[in-house]
């Protein structure tokens, strides 16, 4: 009896692993192919049948990346822009989401949504002029600010949804316990909303890639 249950359980697990493998395999294959490409000489790239592991590794490809352009600087700039845009979006977006959810200020949420829906290109010229006047051209700030146009609405909207589902009683209990509104937010609402914050962090991070065109 028990052995049958164990057998069924292992079968379940094997099945689950198989399904997971099938679903993830395209991603893994794609990644492996990228590594393979980076290690091949140009002649092998278009070879038929395709070569996964080349006979001689083209390590020089990597050296070339660093030789021909300032790869490390660009990489660091990317990290800086993405990091600060996402972080700023969280700092602005999480409290705004909380405020909108608690004050039931749906109208301001719609305004934020409209900013998100407007084609990014329509911002480009006004923002360019603005950055020119403020002398920010040539720094990383314009990039960061442009990303905020996209990331802030994402964070705000996810957080509104999240804060609306957290029970009001918890915050009422905290205010009866003697917490100021700011303490209620920091010590009760914020820790409970952690999963929501993680989700909006990830989505804000991903969304960066789609807006780099305007940089």
């Amino acid at each position: 009896m028990t052995s049958r249950i164990i057998r069924e359980k292992t079968l379940d697990q094997v099945g689950l692993l198989f399904v997971a493998f099938v679903m993830v395999s395209p991603v893994i294959l794609f990644f492996l192919w990228m590594i393979s490409l980076s290690l091949k000489y140009e002649i092998d790239n278009g070879a038929y049948p395709p070569i996964l592991i080349p006979e001689t590794f083209a390590w020089s490809n990597y050296a070339k990346v660093f030789e021909e352009n300032n790869f490390l600087l660009y990489f660091w700039n990317s990290v800086l822009v993405t990091g600060s845009a996402t972080l700023l979006a969280l700092i602005i977006g999480v409290p705004s989401g909380y405020g909108i959810a608690r004050l039931k200020a749906e109208k301001s949420a719609v305004v934020i949504m409209i900013a998100r829906m407007t084609p990014g290109l329509s911002f480009l010229i006004p923002l360019f002029l603005l950055f020119q006047w403020t002398g920010l051209i040539g720094t990383l700030w314009p990039q960061i600010i442009i990303h905020l146009v996209v990331t802030v609405p994402i964070v705000v909207w996810i957080m509104i949804g999240y804060f609306e589902t957290t029970p009001m009683e918890l915050e009422e209990a905290a205010s009866i316990d003697g917490a100021t509104p700011w303490q209620v937010f920091r010590m009760v609402a914020l820790p409970i909303a952690k999963p929501g914050i993680v989700v909006s962090f990830i989505l804000a991070l991903i969304s960066r890639g789609t807006t780099s065109s305007s940089a």
Binding site: P167, E172, A173, S175, D177, T180
Partner: protein, 351 residues
């Protein structure tokens, strides 16, 4: 500890009035239960005392302080919510010590106070757990512990036992009462369950549609309900309320059944439309009584609840002695005239 005075408190949401000028005086250390059917305004009233709901008019005093428009955090009260409202990201100990932490009380003192409250409630072994690892009854205790640790002037309870199963509810009812007797803090307790109200309260406030129907000690409400609403609400099973008039020294129901009246009656009852009230437990089964046919029989072992059809009147009876009745049997019932309540049908008031 403190008295609580509520004077002419009103609440409206826009044009809709939900509480129409309520006055309640609560003595220091008293256990007051606000009871009424859902939508009667009892929770709203409690939330106004807590400072979670704006007061539209009137005045609330806790001790000498006027608190009507004071934020909840400054009122020095503690509240236990229906769904416990424990902070899910904090351990039991942190939940109980949260208010003290906000007051910047010393860590060691917080630990001592939490320990003392945990000992009262038997929570010592659970202090490091998180709320989601606790059962319903344990969560309820933690919520009470959080209130005790504060040592507030007033305890507020908002239907704290509704989420527990029947057996646990009876047990926790006893524990809350014991805790009150031990600590003696003024307590305001909201419930829709009149059994909870009767068993726990020093004083019951019966609310209905935003008005107070009656304030009094539990037995006072049971023995002398001020109106038809209280008569029907307090007591389980509910009082029989039968339409009729007085005729030739007896009560004649609208369907023609003759029922006995108490010896002394107010002079002006004749001719008026009346409501005749008799509690099921004040009806005995005796051979010389009024004849009725059993249309429902429920035995619990300690008592028998029966509905009898007497000339078309449906009368609920609760018999303490054990005898064999079945559906359709004829039962003779005797009503104790001294325990009859008479109400004016028009005003609903007691006569």
């Amino acid at each position: 500890m403190a008295t609580v005075n509520i004077q002419n408190i009103q609440k409206n949401y826009g044009a809709v009035k939900v509480i129409h000028g309520v006055d309640i005086d609560i003595a220091d250390g008293e256990f007051v239960v606000l009871v009424g059917p859902s939508g009667c305004g009892k929770s709203t009233l409690l939330r106004m005392i807590a400072g979670l709901e704006e007061v539209s008019g009137g005045e609330i005093r806790i001790g000498p302080r006027e608190v009507s428009h004071m934020p909840a955090r400054d009122r020095d009260i503690a509240m236990v919510f229906q769904n416990y409202a424990l902070y899910p990201h904090m351990t039991v100990a942190d939940n109980m010590g949260f208010a003290l932490k906000l007051k910047k009380v010393d860590q060691s003192e917080i630990r001592a106070k939490v320990g003392r409250a945990a000992a009262i409630l038997g929570l010592e072994k659970l202090l490091d757990r998180y709320p989601k690892q606790l059962s319903g009854g344990q969560r309820q205790r933690v919520a009470m512990g959080r209130a005790i640790v504060r040592d507030p002037q007033v305890f507020l309870f908002d239907e704290p036992l509704s989420n527990l199963d029947a057996k646990l509810r009876v047990q926790m009812r006893g524990e809350i009462k014991t805790m009150h007797q031990r600590i003696g803090t003024t307590t305001i307790y909201v419930t829709h369950d009149q059994v909870e109200a009767m068993t726990m309260a020093d004083k019951i406030v019966v609310l209905h549609d935003g008005y107070i129907e009656q304030i009094g000690a539990p037995l006072e409400l049971y023995d002398r309900p001020a109106n038809i609403f209280v008569a029907g609400f307090i007591g389980s099973p509910a009082m029989n309320l039968i339409d009729g008039r007085m005729e030739e020294g007896a009560f004649r129901t609208s369907k023609g059944l003759i029922l006995p009246l108490p010896q002394s009656l107010p002079a002006d009852v004749g001719g008026r439309e009346l409501i005749y009230g008799i509690r099921p437990e004040h009806i005995r089964a005796e051979p010389q009584g009024i004849e009725g046919r059993a249309i429902l029989v429920e035995g619990t072992g300690s008592e028998i609840f029966a509905r009898l059809d007497a000339k078309g009147e449906d009368i609920a009876c609760l018999f303490r002695e054990r005898f064999d009745i079945r559906f359709g049997d004829t039962v003779h019932m005797v009503i104790d005239p001294a325990r009859v309540h008479l109400f004016d049908k028009q005003t609903g008031r007691r006569l």
